[in-house]
């Protein structure tokens, strides 16, 4: 699924990577627990999370996550935005909660990693 579709489905705002919405995500993971994301590799995944600290960006880099959606309308700090820009990780923000966001993406064809 393209990031532009994710944006449309979740009525999301693009915080980082407006020029990279053609990027494909193969699958998705949803978690606020960083170690859960690190227990399996998430190659090419979209991450849905309610966590907005710098560790989300670091975890994404280590775990192979290619783009992030912050759910529940959570606003990251400028530090987090700058770090995502530095590493080329697109960030979207949706006001839907985690459950609804996952449900909408899943029913549109985006599946979990395995």
């Amino acid at each position: 699924m393209k990031l532009s579709e994710v944006k449309e489905i979740l009525k999301a705002t693009v915080l980082v990577g407006d020029d990279r919405l053609v990027m494909q995500v193969n699958n998705a993971a949803a978690s606020d627990l960083m170690s859960d994301l690190l227990s399996n590799y998430q190659e090419g995944s979209l991450l849905l999370t309610g966590m907005t600290n710098v560790q989300v960006i670091h975890t994404s880099l280590i775990a192979g996550i290619t783009a992030i959606v912050f759910v529940r309308g959570k606003e990251p700090s400028s530090e987090v935005i700058a770090l995502a820009e530095e590493h080329g990780i697109p960030i979207l923000k949706s006001s839907f909660n985690m459950f609804s966001s996952c449900g909408m993406l899943f029913s549109s064809g985006l599946k979990n990693i395995r």
């Binding site: 170690s35 859960d36 190659e43 710098v54 280590i62």
Partner: protein, 141 residues
């Protein structure tokens, strides 16, 4: 080659920089993606452990022909019961750590899962030493 990174206890903003450094070095050498991801995950989890539980510490990356080695030390509080600490879900993390998405009791189990050799030694009050080996060709020759 060897590369050492200092890890500062409680520096949550920098936490992860050593692991990202390790990942970049392994990428630039041209290792296969599978081993890069396994080493990076272990470097990151161990770095977070030092930041959360340790006093200051260090992470040493060693790259040889047939193996990659990570050695992580800290001078922190140490682990009283290592067997218990290796159980998935067991954690002594604080509310602060959990608020950041860590402290789910998955760190050490993740490291054990992703490394080929996993050694840990620790004593209450005497810090922790971790050594993880990753075989470059999948199986040890």
């Amino acid at each position: 080659m060897k590369k050492e990174y200092e890890i500062k206890a409680r520096d949550f903003v920098r936490a992860g920089k050593a692991a990202i450094g390790v990942q970049n070095i392994l990428k630039s050498i041209g290792f296969e993606q599978d081993i890069i991801r396994r080493v990076s995950i272990c470097a990151y989890e161990s770095e977070m452990n030092v930041v959360m539980h340790g006093a200051d510490g260090s992470l040493l990356l060693g790259v040889e022909n047939k193996e990659i080695v990570l050695e992580v030390r800290d001078s922190g509080e140490g682990i009283e019961d290592i067997e218990l600490a290796l159980k998935e879900g067991y954690s002594t993390a604080s509310e602060e750590h959990r608020d950041m998405g860590f402290g789910a009791g998955m760190g050490l189990p993740n490291m054990k899962k992703h490394s080929n050799v996993f050694e840990i030694s620790s004593q209450k009050g005497n810090g922790t030493y971790l050594r993880m080996v990753f075989w470059v060709n999948g199986n040890r020759e």
